[in-house]
């Protein structure tokens, strides 16, 4: 027993044993989650987690915010300071499995988590954005016993960097610890894929990948072999990293990463992004209109080129060689400026565009402008917290290893672990009586990634990736009818 946690250790272990016992009875338990702060990030998390059926309690100092959130979602709300012990107790901290603190204040978030940890012994997640703390984050995380610390700017930068590594994709998600990729890609006019039936594609291109969803206009399809692709369809392709690379190479799509990046706006996100890009050998140019900030950045990032000037000045951008840039990232603090800049760059060059947008509400409109990849920092923050919660939930409940929501939440891609004998094991997939709109995309059999055909079988110990429009699957056996 360690001195810091003292007797608090015991209840945690007991709780886990209880969970295991319930799990054995074949039930899926929902977690009790307390969320402090319901701003943009908080409400996005509430939206996602309440859809997944967790018991959620929210705390905020503004009664108006609580009122809105309890009307729109099936959650319980308390008004008060989330760092208060009495209000945490009222919200049921003793029975809670997880505390998520996402208020505007770093210190408040850390205090919330600290108190929750001491009072309830639950898992804790805090949003900490101040770079002063960020640099020491591993120390804070360790000492305060936090399960996860999220920095929105850093998370956004990571996402941007990932896209820049593979500029043709709209979005990349990974399964099987990074060995399988789910790549979203828009078919261009005149591509080999245009007007092809899916069953002909793998023979034509001679590579082993699976198209698992097709988004055409408003509709999302889970296609079968006879589905015919058209230009401007957004397809999601599942396959191993190697096969994926081959697939895009045969399509004539450049998979090589951008060699340089042109960043407008030198905020925190730009700093984190530049740092990452420089470390993988991409040269970075940052345009920033505040002289002091420029000097600060040039101290922090000696390898980056810092340009002091207004990023919306057309002549300046031309002078700095914008047409030669392979990728362009708009990171100013104004959504309108970012969108304008990206539209302009689109008209003069073929650079990969990344646009940062804060307001989530108009994402459909912005998505229609073909601005390349749009980054919503708050959305990314919420998304990574939700991912962490799913992983946590998995460790105490269902057999889902990873879960991604795609195409406006209408499609789920899930990775299941087949832990024990279940009705799907050992039977050729062709003979399984599957629910409609379910596609088994790949099977990870002892490290071998198999793109399944009709004769493939699932065995115990495999992980299986499934794409479906049916929500609420908890176990691999849920894919069967009846």
């Amino acid at each position: 027993m360690c001195i810091r946690c003292g007797a608090k250790r015991e209840p945690i272990i007991q709780k886990n044993i209880e969970h295991l016992q319930i799990q054995r009875k074949g039930m899926v338990i929902d977690m009790h989650i307390i969320i402090v702060g319901c701003g943009n990030v908080g409400s996005t998390i509430v939206e996602k987690l309440s859809k997944e059926g967790h018991n959620i309690t929210v705390i905020d100092t503004k009664s108006e915010a609580i009122k809105n959130i309890t009307i729109n979602y099936d959650v319980m709300g308390y008004v008060g300071n989330g760092a208060g012990y009495s209000i945490q107790k009222e919200a049921g901290i003793e029975e809670a499995d997880l505390m998520i603190a996402v208020t505007d204040s770093d210190e408040l978030n850390l205090l919330c988590c600290l108190i929750a940890k001491k009072a309830g012994g639950c898992h804790t997640i805090a949003r900490v954005r101040n770079p002063v703390y960020s640099r020491e984050i591993s120390f804070i995380k360790e000492e305060l016993g936090l399960s996860m610390v999220i920095n929105p700017e850093d998370a956004a930068a990571m996402e941007i960097a990932r896209i820049l590594k593979f500029p043709s994709a709209i979005k990349i998600d990974t399964f099987a610890k990074g060995r399988v990729e789910l790549v979203k890609y828009r078919i261009e006019e005149g591509s080999v894929l245009c007007d092809q039936a899916l069953k002909n594609i793998s023979s034509k291109l001679k590579c082993d990948v699976l198209v698992c969803t097709v988004e055409r206009g408003e509709d999302v399809y889970i296609p079968d072999g006879n589905f015919i692709l058209r230009a401007k369809d957004e397809i999601s392709v599942v396959g191993t990293v190697k096969n994926g690379m081959l697939f895009f190479k045969k399509l004539g799509v450049p998979r090589a990463r951008a060699k340089n990046a042109f960043i407008v706006g030198g905020g925190e996100t730009a700093y984190y992004l530049a740092k990452q890009l420089i470390s993988i050998g991409i040269s970075v140019k940052i345009v920033e209109k505040d002289r002091v900030r420029c000097e600060e950045l040039s101290e922090l990032l000696p390898q980056a080129t810092l340009i002091y000037g207004d990023g919306t000045d057309k002549d300046l951008l031309m002078e700095e060689g914008l047409p030669q840039a392979e990728s362009f990232v708009a990171l100013t603090n104004f959504d309108e400026e970012n969108i304008m800049l990206s539209l302009y760059v689109k008209s003069i060059s073929k650079a990969k565009l990344i646009t940062k947008v804060h307001r989530i509400s108009y994402d459909e409109l912005i998505g229609g402008m073909e601005l390349g990849s749009i980054i919503y920092p708050k959305y990314i923050t919420a998304e990574s917290i939700v991912k962490h919660v799913r992983a946590l939930h998995n460790s105490i409940g269902s057999n889902i290893e990873t879960l991604y929501r795609m195409n406006n939440d209408r499609v789920e891609a899930l990775e299941f672990i087949v832990k024990e004998d279940s009705p799907v094991v050992g039977i050729p997939l062709l003979e399984l009586n599957l629910k409609p709109n379910i596609l088994i995309c790949c099977i990870n059999h002892k490290g071998n990634i198999i793109t399944p055909g009709g004769q493939s079988k699932i065995s115990v110990g495999d992980t299986v990736v499934i794409v479906t429009t049916t929500t609420g699957l908890h176990d691999i056996k849920d894919i069967l009818k009846g």
């Binding site: 929902d30 309440s50 018991n55 959620i56 309690t57 009307i71 979602y73 099936d74 959650v75 319980m76």
Partner: protein
């Protein structure tokens, strides 16, 4: 207005109606009564319509407060129309209007009857009469929320529109679990009452029907003399269970999760019990001369007080003949009603507490014009929005009461009959005074008056707003 979701939920309501009617059908089979087959026809009809209606899935899940209110009031109206069919088909009720009045009176847990001879009914019809109380007590949509996986955020709008009380507090974060806990407590109380009544000498049929009437705080009995001919023990059991069902169910939940301090600290509970005992004491002093000893006087006073205050409407004797002072107190209790979040109807004790405190605040602010003072209840601040909505509620309450009174007066009955008939149906109590007293019934009223009273019962049960929203032209305008 999203009609497809409303249609979908209404079809589900029909399925539940069919499910509920299976019980009286079984009772009818056991006693070999021909009326049982009326239920079978209605069940078949409900299932056919709901299967047809559910073929098409709702196009979108858009569901706001407006849809919530409309769905709730429509489902109560549909449930009433369906529930009246077996009564009418069995031929034991003279007209469909009468059958409908009886069903609405049952579902809204009023207990006002148009029958002159209750004992003449067949058993399955009697069972269905009492069972409607049980269904209406907690509300059918709450049951649907508890059982069916209605995904989406719209369930809160439904719960809000159906639950009695000024503000809906969830017990646990999820509506589904809250609804399950509420029905669990409800079912538990009912079962305990059935068992206690059987120990006191009643048979299973009597015990269960009367328990449905009590736990739903309804008031339909099996005998013309209501509860008068049962033994004192049985009457005492009724007192206890009526009193329990008039309490906010949240308090039972707090007791279940072992938080007795918060449960007993509830101000509404204290006021409720206080009012019951003070009223019983005053009446028993007032009617001392009618009984042999003090205990009898107190027992009967307590029974009538609890019965009226919880809006049940059972009676052990005809209190219509009591002195004016006692009648006045009983009339006031009729208007007041039980606790918020209970199965009882009426104005609700918690609203009274907030109103009294806002009056006190207003007087205080006249004396100290610059003072700022918030209203507290159970150690929490009552927000201005809640206070305002309670004040508006009170205005609407009085206006509907007076408006219906004027309409019912067309019957040319005496003043007391008219005003108490409206007050007692509007608050879901049942018996009033004079012609509609505990020994009387509503058969003499004209068809139009019955319609007005039916509206009052539904409006009272659903806490005014849903019915007003349904009949407001603005709701239906595009």
């Amino acid at each position: 207005m999203n009609y497809s979701v409303i249609r979908y939920i209404l079809c589900r309501v029909l399925e539940f109606a069919a499910l509920f009617m299976a019980l009286p059908f079984i009772v009818g089979l056991i006693y070999r009564e021909s009326s049982a087959f009326c239920f079978l026809y209605v069940i078949a009809g409900c299932l056919a319509v709901s299967l047809a209606g559910r073929r098409f899935k709702p196009k979108s899940n858009v569901f706001y407060a407006k849809e919530g209110f409309v769905t709730v009031s429509l489902s109560w109206i549909i449930l009433s129309l369906i529930g009246a069919l077996p009564f009418y088909l069995s031929g034991e009720f003279p007209t469909y209007t009468d059958a409908l009045f009886e069903t609405i009176s049952g579902l809204t847990t009023t207990g006002a009857t148009i029958l002159t001879d209750v004992e003449g009914l067949s058993r399955c019809i009697q069972f269905w009469r009492c069972f409607t109380h049980w269904i209406g007590g907690m509300g059918v949509l709450v049951l649907i929320l508890a059982v069916l996986p209605l995904s989406g955020s719209y369930n809160m709008h439904l719960m809000k529109a159906e639950s009695p009380g000024p503000s809906v507090g969830k017990l646990v974060p999820k509506i589904k679990n809250t609804a399950m806990i509420l029905y669990g407590i409800y079912l538990m109380i009912t079962v305990v009452e059935i068992i206690s009544l059987m120990f006191a000498g009643l048979n299973l049929y009597e015990a269960s029907t009367l328990s449905f009437s009590t736990t739903g705080t309804g008031g339909f009995g099996l005998l013309n003399s209501s509860i008068g001919s049962y033994s004192t023990t049985v009457q005492t059991i009724f007192i206890i269970f009526m009193l329990l069902c008039g309490i906010n169910f949240q308090i039972f939940y707090l007791l279940l999760i072992r938080k007795p301090r918060e449960a007993f600290g509830s101000e509404e509970l204290r006021y409720y019990l206080g009012i019951v005992f003070v009223a019983a004491l005053l009446i028993s002093i007032n009617v001392r001369g009618f009984f042999e000893d003090g205990f009898q006087a107190f027992h009967h006073s307590l029974f009538q007080v609890v019965s009226v205050m919880t809006t049940t409407g059972f009676a052990t004797l005809d209190y219509n003949v009591w002195p004016e002072f006692s009648r006045a107190i009983i009339f006031l209790l009729t208007l007041l009603g039980a606790c918020a979040g209970s199965t009882g109807g009426g104005f609700k004790v918690s609203r009274l507490i907030v109103l009294l405190r806002s009056i006190k605040n207003e007087i205080f602010s006249v004396i100290h014009p610059r003072s700022i003072k918030k209203i507290h209840m159970d150690g929490r601040i009552v927000e201005d929005g809640v206070i305002k909505s309670i004040q508006v509620y009170t205005m609407i309450y009085v206006m509907i009461l007076l408006g219906s009174f004027v309409l019912v007066s067309l019957n040319e009955f005496d003043f007391v009959t008219n005003i108490t008939a409206v007050a007692t149906t509007f608050n879901n109590v049942g018996p009033g005074f004079n012609m509609v007293g505990p020994a009387g019934n509503y058969s003499a009223f004209s068809g139009f008056s019955k319609l007005v009273l039916m509206f009052d019962m539904l409006a009272g049960r659903l806490e005014l707003m849903p019915m007003l929203v349904l009949f407001s032209p603005r709701t239906w305008r595009r």
